[in-house]
């Protein structure tokens, strides 16, 4: 479970995105879970008017209900005795992929919903690819609408096999494949007696058993948000991305390489204890003053400093990303103009098939993009330091694509 703690409580937080093709039952599954779990203390009962139409628990917009389709991502909370679960519903429709990403980039784990009557579809693949890219490798597969397959084991096994193979090809080892009837509640919270051939956990039981992988390094990374001046003193403010920082620490400012020493850790109320991962603090430094975008790190374990960053990029905008085009690359607190130097290994996210080598990166395509940056940027491989290994590309302040540093 992730070490994050909510602002008001002490319990760990587990954020789960429901992903998959449109109409496969993502919203219904969340609504059904909310309904069955509403006996929990402190949880409001689900509005009686949605009974049987469980998708309406999250599909609350007029146009969502009229069209019976999720348009925007929603987050629903469930406080259990051991943790807070956040269910992130996302739209399955291709045109709404930016809303899917607004939800999915906040998830620790995912449930991939696959309707038994339709099996793997375009958005099943695309969402699975995005999970792999976003580093969400803890995935449960819910094979929904088992009623349309007469709750038969052979039909389930065939889908289970396909799903496991396709996800493995993307580098995801599934944490369980569960036959479900979301509408009726079979294997959602309670185990279903109508599918006696299945002896595994329900979706909620499987969620309860998830083990999340913990970040592999704990070296200090302190991306500078800005410098505040107060009483003639400069305080460098930011949030500790990883590791901890104590008074007396000798640090390196990246990308410049300048050496600084932490004279004081400043917070309110005053407390000079080391600042821990996730904490927003001020640092008073001895040495050259850093600025917004700089990253403080220990001299013995520095992030990568480069004028030629590269990564796997997923493109969102209708106008493709062209060779030679200039966009803004944002990573942690950095915002640096970069020019597209090369585009390679393009992939169609609908089919997962490679595309011809030549060409711009069009909407819904994935490619390896090499940039030439106007000045040095600080990055790290995503698997090592997620917060410095992911970036957003912007045109005039609008996110048009995002990428992961390999």
């Amino acid at each position: 479970m992730s070490p994050l703690v909510t602002d008001g409580g002490e319990k760990p937080l587990l954020r789960i995105a429901m992903v998959g093709h449109v109409d496969h039952g993502k919203s219904t599954l969340i609504g059904r879970i909310r309904h069955e779990m509403s006996a929990l203390p402190g949880t409001a009962a689900v509005d009686a008017s949605v009974a049987g139409n469980w998708a309406f628990v999250t599909d609350q917009l007029q146009e969502e209900r009229e069209r019976e389709m999720t348009i925007d991502t929603t987050q629903t909370f469930l406080d259990t005795p051991v943790c807070r679960l956040v269910f992130i519903d996302v739209p399955g429709h291709q045109e709404l992929i930016q809303n899917m990403l607004s939800g999915a980039t906040r998830a620790d784990a995912a449930v991939l919903v696959l309707a038994g009557d339709e099996g793997v579809q375009v958005q099943t693949r695309r969402h699975a690819l995005l999970l792999a890219m976003l580093g969400i490798r803890t995935v449960i597969v819910a094979v929904n609408k088992m009623d349309t397959l007469d709750r038969r084991e052979d039909a389930f096994r065939a889908l289970e096999h396909t799903a496991v193979e396709e996800l493995r090809a993307l580098g995801i080892e599934v944490s369980g494949v569960i036959p479900v009837v979301a509408r009726d509640g079979d294997n959602v919270v309670q185990r279903s007696e109508a599918m006696p051939w299945y002896d595994g956990p329900s979706v909620m039981e499987a969620i309860g058993e998830l083990e999340l992988t913990v970040a592999p390094v704990d070296a200090l990374r302190f991306p500078v948000q800005g410098v505040l001046r107060h009483d003639g003193q400069a305080t460098v403010v930011g949030r500790v991305l990883s590791g901890s920082v104590a008074e007396g620490d000798a640090l390196t400012v990246c990308p410049s390489g300048a050496a600084v020493t932490v004279r004081a850790v400043r917070r309110f109320p005053e407390d000079h204890a080391p600042a821990q991962t996730g904490e927003s603090v001020g640092l008073v430094l001895d040495g050259p003053e850093p600025g917004r975008g700089d990253v403080l790190a220990p001299a013995g374990d520095l992030p990568h400093v480069t004028r030629t960053p590269a990564g796997r990029v997923f493109w969102l905008a209708q106008t493709p990303l062209a060779l030679g085009e200039e966009v803004a690359l944002r990573c942690a607190t950095q915002a640096v103009p970069v020019r597209v130097a090369a585009i390679a290994d393009r992939l169609d996210s609908a089919t997962l098939e490679p595309l011809p080598a030549e060409g711009a990166l069009a909407s819904m395509q994935l490619g390896t993009v090499a940039f030439a940056a106007e000045r040095a940027v600080v990055v790290e491989p995503f698997d090592r330091m997620a917060g410095l290994g992911r970036f957003v590309l912007e045109r005039r302040g609008t996110a048009v694509g995002f990428g992961i540093v390999g």
Partner: protein
């Protein structure tokens, strides 16, 4: 004014949205920091931390800019931006935070004569709930056991299923 004289939608729109528009124009604000939270209402559950609003205030909920990780769009051509730093907190989180930090609270939240306000907005539309909680600790204990939604006392949520959505798309907070 007041929902007895005109319908609730028109009342809310006049007392909040129109008044807010006048204040933003008068003061020349570029951004508003608001305390709305996802768990308050199904439509607020769809909000972003940074939400650009057009000149006429409209919130196009289906076409919000992507908000990837914590890399928020901070440059835009919006008339003003709404910033929602408490979006992920629940009602209980807020009260636990109030307790932990010793933050003073509006006395309307505390029970008097067996009633207290759980959600406070405009006078015409807010009704108190039955309660005996006279301290922050008692409010926390009450909420930990409650199954009623937070805004049960808010008339505008009940009027019509989509009133909240209509109000929000016009600029209601």
């Amino acid at each position: 004014m007041g929902p007895k004289k005109i319908d609730k939608f028109a009342c809310c729109n006049a007392l909040k949205t129109v008044a807010l528009k006048q204040a933003i124009a008068g003061m020349g604000f570029e951004a508003l920091l608001l305390g709305i939270r996802r768990d308050e209402h199904g439509v607020r559950a769809k909000e972003r931390y940074f939400s650009p609003r057009a000149q006429d205030f409209t919130w196009n909920v289906g076409a919000q800019p992507p908000e990837l990780w914590d890399l928020y769009a901070t440059v835009d051509e919006a008339a003003h931006d709404r910033i929602h730093p408490l979006l992920h907190m629940t009602e209980l989180d807020v009260w636990r935070y109030v307790r932990r930090e010793g933050i003073p609270v509006n006395p309307l939240y505390l029970a008097k004569d067996g009633k207290r306000f759980r959600s406070i907005g405009c006078a015409p539309c807010c009704a108190p709930i039955p309660s005996t909680a006279t301290t922050v600790d008692e409010i926390i204990a009450e909420l930990e056991a409650s199954r009623e939604p937070e805004r049960a006392g808010r008339a505008q949520d009940k009027e019509n299923a989509f009133t909240m959505q209509k109000l929000r798309s016009l600029g209601y907070m």
